[in-house]
Amino acid sequence: MIRKLCLTMLFALLLGLLAGLAVAQDSVSITVRCKASPPEEDWRCNNFAEVEAEVEADLGIDIDLNLIQDNAGWGDYKNEFVLASEAGEAPDIILSGHEDIGAWAPAGFIIPLDDVIPMHSEFDDIVPSLWDSHGYAGQIWGIPQDAEARPIFYSKLLLRDLGWSEDDIESLPERVAAGEWTFADMLATAEAAIDEGVIDAGNGWWHRPSNGPDFLYYYFGHGGEVLDMEGNLVVDSDALVATYELLGGAVASGVMRSDIIGVDWNEVWHPTVAQADTVLFAAGGTWNWPNWAINYVADKGGDEFLFENIGLTLIPAMATGNAITLTHPLTYMISSGSENPDVALALIAAITTPEHNNKHAIDSFHLGILNAQLESEAYANNRLLSSAHYMLDHTTALPNHPGWNAWSNAYFLGIQAVETGEADAAGAADIAIAQMQNELGDGIMVR
């Protein structure tokens, strides 16, 4: 009797184990790493939790989803992924700048997606121009997460003090987009504001205080190119000199302060620009807006205060005659170490919908990535997004190339040289070109 009972129990135990194994085989672990500034960019990661059950039901599996959101500096964030990839501990999905494709694709840390993208109809609706910045060596390596514009923010408050009418102020974005109001006009307006005592010298125009993508649009605005038709790095010396003349000239004329590079982002730059009473023109990014509304002018009315006192426009036309901006899409990439890339892609596809992307776009003021978002009520009714979406028609992007960091660091050296007065425009261009040639060797062509 006891023997029978033991055998029955053993059998039941074996059955239980087998059942457990069967369930375990259907459970897959997916880790997602997102760089996001809380709270306005939380949806970059949190959207995955929203669709987890839906994807589980579709695929008939149990997903053990692990979301890791942090707001580390870009350099540390990217290095962590490189080291984790080599250690075999990379997340399944990494969110980073599209330019990382240029380094991570040749290193084999991420996988190409050309063959699997057609399997998910959600990706069909992505704004076509965004795919351009996701290519490397003829293949697509990431799915756009968001888009943005890097506009000039102008202080309506100070323009009113300068005597501008409401019509002049409200029509400025249109005039800029049409190429009627140029960068030279912007500088002249800033000089006039200083001359008339509306603002202090140095506060006519602020660009970002550290290296970053924005600086490239000044070079593009003067007809410069970073890649030739074959995808090789190039530098156009005339465009480079003209860019440095523009930046150095702004400092020399007192429109921009010579120590703008090095100003602390959070201690000085954001709190000053957000108040709208000190700086006339500031080159920033659309995502700055919710940051200002939440962290710097909440006590004055947040969004309402900003709408009342700050406007945004494309970067006014420079030598090319066309107003521009620059989009730096963040990108979901799938790690080559992922054991379940199909599940990872299914999760990305599930959040690539107007419903989910709108949450991120609205909360963080990043532009939509899907055509359908433009038609969605939530997006179209959003005053901020609807006022900026047209900028995607004028956008440019960084190149995806392993040598981009050397190129951009050398370019930034020239900017530092000319703005601090350590070199004139031609000298700054010589510094930048010499640095590029020293570090890139045959990998850079000077035109």
Partner: protein, 327 residues
């Protein structure tokens, strides 16, 4: 009369003597082994790896931890480094930073604080020394944040708020005088190390020597000059050596305060460049191989300086057997 002939050692005595010598050697090396293993694991092996990395083109775009898979490029990184138009500037920045911080703060101010706090009431001296240790025990990020808040431009900085309150002009202190703040910020941290060493050395001077000098009619200054300073010579030389090497490799506070700027590498030091190249880049694709070349040169400079210090300051005398024992 014949010379006395030394009695030859028996073979057993010879063996015993050799055994004793061997035991003595083994004992000495045995005691040094734990430290030796640590030096090998945490210094020699990393230096060898960094040396190897410096002759490869390792970057994020071809990153691997397999040494055999790294692409050997010979001395190309060193050639690039020597051709870098700012390498000379960064090198002299480093020399300037080390010399000024060391001489003004890590040694001089540390000595002054030690002398002052050992010549006042003992508990008051302890309180002052504890205050001077605060910069050392505060997290670098918090410490630099405090400095930034104090020195920020108007209307944000505390000092500038005082200036405005008093009707004085305001300044962008750090941007205008970056070296002053780089040296002061690091110097305040560096003072504590020398202060502790010097204070303990001064406290350990036999009181009868100090009292004797007073009985002989010396003033306090004379007692410092002719009694205390000669007696703390070795701690002084040790602090100079140790802090030189420490400053050569320190960069965290500079990175947090100025990140090597403003302008063209105005406050960039060698170790910060190695970090920027190998480990931190806004646009990714860090240059591990090239950054390692910077690090290798720093190690070489450190080793050369250490040897020079040991020779010039005659450290062998410091560790030599006391003469009274040798008599």
């Amino acid at each position: 009369m014949s010379e006395p002939v030394a009695k030859p050692k028996s073979s057993a005595a010879l063996v015993q003597s050799r055994r004793n010598a061997l035991r003595s050697y083994l004992g000495a090396y045995g005691f040094m082994a734990p430290a030796g293993v640590l030096v090998i694991i945490f210094f020699l092996i990393p230096v060898a790896i960094v040396l190897y990395l410096s002759v490869t083109n390792l970057a994020s775009s071809n990153f691997t931890s397999d040494l055999a898979k790294m692409e050997f490029i010979g001395l190309k990184n060193y050639q690039t480094l020597l051709n870098d138009q700012f390498a000379r500037k960064i090198f002299f920045n480093t020399i300037f930073y080390v010399l000024v911080t060391l001489s003004l703060f890590n040694v001089s101010l540390a000595l002054i604080v030690s002398l002052l706090t050992t010549h006042i009431d003992r508990s008051a001296g302890f309180v002052f020394r504890a205050l001077w240790i605060l910069p050392r025990i505060t997290s670098p990020v918090v410490y630099i944040l405090i400095w930034k808040r104090m020195m920020a431009e108007a209307p944000f900085g505390i000092l500038n708020q005082f200036n405005e309150f008093l009707g004085q002009p305001t300044y962008n202190y750090v941007a205008t005088n970056p070296w002053v703040f780089v040296v002061v910020v690091n110097g305040f941290i560096g003072v504590s190390f020398g202060m502790i060493i010097f204070t303990s050395a001064i406290e350990s001077i036999p009181k009868d020597l100090l009292n004797a000098s007073l009985v002989d009619g010396s003033s306090r200054m004379q007692r410092i000059r002719y009694v205390i300073l000669p007696l703390i010579r070795w701690p002084l030389l040790f602090v100079v050596t140790y802090q030189t090497l420490s400053l050569l490799t320190s960069f965290v506070e500079i990175q947090l305060l100025t990140d090597g700027g403003p302008g063209l590498y105005r406050t960039e030091v060698w170790s910060l460049t190695a970090y920027h190249r190998a480990l931190s880049n806004y646009f990714g694709n860090a240059q591990w191989g090239y950054g390692s070349a910077f690090a290798v040169l720093l190690v070489m400079i450190g080793v050369v300086l250490a040897v020079i210090y040991m020779r010039v300051f005659r450290f062998d005398e410091l560790v030599a057997e006391p003469r009274v024992e040798a008599l």
